[in-house]
Amino acid sequence: MAKPGMDREARQGLTLIAPPFLYALAILAVPVLTILSYSFLTDGYLEVIGEFTFGNYIQVWSDPIVRAVLLRSLSVSAAVTVVTVLLAFPVAYYLSFVVRPERKSMWLFLITIPFWTSYLIRVFLWKVILGYNGVINSSLTGLGIIDQPLTFILYNVNSMVLTLAHAYAPFAILPIFVALEKIDRSLLEAGRDLGENRLMTFWRVTLPLAMPGVVAAVLIVFIPTIGDYVTPELIGGGKIPMIANLIQVQMLALDNRPLGSALAVTAMLVVAVVSLIFLWLNRRFLRVKQ
């Protein structure tokens, strides 16, 4: 193609992309940059003073409570990610390798429906299921299996992990499914022909080729869960906050925007660093382009 033609096409493309790009710039980039700049400013009473400081970050990073909450958020997210991806992999495998092609989209539709329906009510229903007088406890006591309601299933980290794993399930299934669908089936036959058994073929052919999907699933579950606000509030009973709850308290209840901003920026940094490390660890799987 001639050079002027390229330029014209580029110009048309840029003109078309401008409205959504400018919108995202105004509603996403400008606010995030504002948070970033606030985090270096000083908090005055009821207002933000334009004085540069690292004080907010020093305060955030040296505060043992922040450290504890951040660590908890990370470990809850990590647990949710592991549980979600492990539970999701066999389902994605089943969809890709066993289900007949014409029924695949039906299965995908069934899996995505719960994801689109009332997040808040779904989270609350887990509280109903797991609660002191909840479905599990009242059924078990009613049947005479236990005398005292089980308490280890509510208001703790386990129940938060379970609820979040439920909420993000489709997010994990879809990328793995897409990666599995791309695998050339003749490679598996080749593996078998060369004398590998079923398990070894899975381990040495299917799994490595599915890894890009697994990596995508991990990131797509890990990143949003770390910022979840509702589950700690409802399932954790507000007593085991995660980082989102801490940010909200600093920003609104305590009205300390610079400190809240420093917290938010710290949280984003931690998520970005963890994600990049994870990508780096899996670099050899991602290099293969199919």
Binding site: P31, W116, G134
Partner: protein
């Protein structure tokens, strides 16, 4: 079928049961006459639905939510059409980066979007209202709209448009007469998905709506009162039924769109 695939099938069915467990419980409690959400169930009643319908705050929340969802889905889909057209038809410098940035809200924790937008709005002295919620919802619905619309636009046959130019149509004319009707199923599907996302969205509505209730923030405020729970269950049942209906229609149009252009059905919404 071998034993292995039977095992996998059983597991997949169990997994579906796990996914649907909370939703299946919802109508049980909504029609249960007991005031406490627990087993055994008491008796059948539709009182909670009547009680729900007679609640003025709830009606206000409903009308707010509908206004927000309609506005956000229309705005997100319009912006999405631009992005989908640009990314499927043209190459331009910085394409990957720009598209990545526009799709970012899909994975960004909503609390970050909500908080940063809140800080800016308060800093500018803008009054919080349903308008500010619409701004936020458009942002988070846009990537989903783009994902659906890109599929619709990418299966478009370019020669159809060229034929229209050759027959003397203007650019706009060709877009309106050829492209738009062909991607219409994608547009409807994007509108429905965005509508469902916005209707269900809590965090952004919670922080940016000021004193105006939306359905999710209303539900959240009522969850701490045990007496209100049965009518919230009734509300939840209605919402879930509505979402499933809308998604079903959306899926129908998405598939019809793919079939119309002779494409292969690649999978779900994401």
């Amino acid at each position: 079928m071998s034993g292995r695939s039977n095992g996998l099938r059983a597991y997949a069915l169990l997994y579906l049961l796990f996914l649907y467990a909370p939703i299946l419980l919802l109508p049980l409690f909504a029609f249960n006459s007991g005031t406490i959400i627990a087993f055994p169930l008491q008796g059948f009643t539709t009182d909670w639905f009547t009680q729900m319908w007679g609640n003025p705050t709830l009606r206000r929340a409903l009308s707010n939510s509908l206004i927000i969802a309609v506005s956000a889905s229309v705005m997100a889909t319009c912006l999405g059409v631009f992005a989908a057209r640009a990314t499927t038809r043209f190459t331009f410098p910085g394409k990957g980066g720009i598209m990545g940035f526009i799709m970012l809200p899909m994975v960004l924790p909503e609390i970050i979007v909500a908080m940063s937008l809140l800080v800016v709005l308060l800093g500018l002295g803008i009054e919080l209202s349903i308008l500010t919620v619409i701004l936020g919802h458009t942002l988070i619905c846009m990537p989903y709209g783009i994902a659906i619309l890109s599929t619709a636009f990418s299966s478009l046959d370019r020669s159809l448009e060229e034929a229209a130019y050759d027959l003397g149509e203007t650019k706009w004319g060709a877009f309106r007469l050829i492209t738009l009707p062909l991607v219409m199923p994608g547009i409807i599907s994007s509108l429905l998905i965005s509508f469902t996302i916005s209707l269900d969205e809590f965090i952004i509505a919670f922080f940016l709506a000021g004193t105006e209730p939306t359905l999710p923030t209303y539900i959240f405020s009522q969850l701490r009162f045990p007496k209100q729970i049965p009518s919230i269950m009734a509300l939840g049942t209605v919402l879930v039924a509505l979402s499933i209906l809308l998604l079903g229609i959306g899926e129908y149009f998405r598939r019809r769109g793919i079939a119309r252009m002779g494409g292969k059905n690649g999978g779900g919404f994401l």
